[in-house]
Symmetry: C2
Subunit: 257 residues, 2 copies
Amino acid sequence: MQRTENRTTENMTEEEFLKQYRPERYEKPSVTVDILVFTVNREQQLQLLLIQRGKHPYLGKWAIPGGFVCMKESLEEGAARELLEETGLTGIYLEQLYTFGAVERDVRMRVISVAYLALVPANRLAIRSGDDAADACLFTLEQKEQGFTLSSKEKNCILTEDDLAFDHGEIIRTALERLKGKVKYSDIALELLADKEKFSIYELQRIYEALAGEKLDAANFRRSFKKKFIDTKRAVKLEEKCSAYSKKPSSYYKLLG
Amino acid sequence: MQRTENRTTENMTEEEFLKQYRPERYEKPSVTVDILVFTVNREQQLQLLLIQRGKHPYLGKWAIPGGFVCMKESLEEGAARELLEETGLTGIYLEQLYTFGAVERDVRMRVISVAYLALVPANRLAIRSGDDAADACLFTLEQKEQGFTLSSKEKNCILTEDDLAFDHGEIIRTALERLKGKVKYSDIALELLADKEKFSIYELQRIYEALAGEKLDAANFRRSFKKKFIDTKRAVKLEEKCSAYSKKPSSYYKLLG
DNA sequence: CGAATAGTGTCTCTCAGACATTATATG
DNA sequence: CATATAATGTCTGAGAGACACTATTCG
């Protein structure tokens, strides 16, 4: 970052320096933000938003939504903007995942892509079919030992990594690893609750299971939930009961703070 | 990434498309890689390589070494190249840390910086005083509750965050968090061993302590080392003993695979 | 009644942390 | 001898996982 200007600049004041400075001396890569929009649906399936490309390269293949970073927005702001354009949503949990910068990842030009995770409660996500996202679709994402599978009932199709554009298969694998690991030691799962002020423990468990990619013991899950949230007053049990999901009504809980 | 070309491209073949494609349509940010070169010295202190800026902006302030990403190298390759230029080292553990992209982080122009961690064994790190790194210095890094302090005996100075260029204080804080967290569930500490084929347990413990920023119980550390490495045949005890560090000679161990 | 989910109790095993103890070198 | 580090042993409590059990609703 500090090896680009002429040695003679040492004698200038900062003001003088900035005046004479010409930034356009080198060829630059393009920078994009890609957003992995994850949700967990009613059937406790992990889902991911993909868009079918209508242009070369990778015409017809499925891609993670994204776009170029504007000069006047931070990466985080760019990610939020892309998410808004794609889904119409604001106030969503966003987390930087990783930056992908292989030289040939885009045949058109050098593109460096900063990938972000977005965790969206299922009830907030209604895919807008605007002109940008005409071919957006939520795919059900199943974690396998080595990799994943993507499937959509509506589109009646199952994707393999070959059906994905660019290096997006690798990006999805990286995201799954992150989710799988982080669900165990953080509270990101809460971000996927439809209503943080009214949820049942089992509902939350289903989200944990979808992220972890494995079944959890109900008794142990309850115990750890109570230890972590009730004992520490981070959540309280509500009077109201829920009968929507099962035969026996379950208690609602509400997150505090 | 897919919203930049003209709608009429849909009818072309991929070859035709690439032929007519002009990448230079938008203003682009600059992309740099910054390398946080960490080491743990003989006195079990965590150290970080910084360079004193000889130019505006931030003339005289200390900065994390780095430079622009070349068009023909990946981010990882760029990081390795910068590390080589700065320290003369190859074959060093490198890990992508985070990408920093606030709009105003560099007054000259929009710069997006991909930060990498490099873990270098103390014995391999001899700061080269080439023209690029004339003012490179290893600072001892102490972790505090909120933040850190940097100090150098040779330069006889102590740095606060105000003495750092750009947002490099924030980057260092992010790196410390990562090291502190990752040392507990991964084996990155091994990368800082002077000799992976000949080390004592206490020597390794000191590295763990420097990264974690806290003292560890020797008995418990030995127990977990043996469980994790000896029982699983990932390391073996050597016949040879070491008398360099203490009164009673200690056993050497050797990593396998 | 059976079926299904809600919710509790309990046992075991592992592991981390604290701390006491023994062993072996140096000066 | 004192002292410092090497190395082992032991106790405890927390927590994860497995699983048996009870409770409540629907049909």
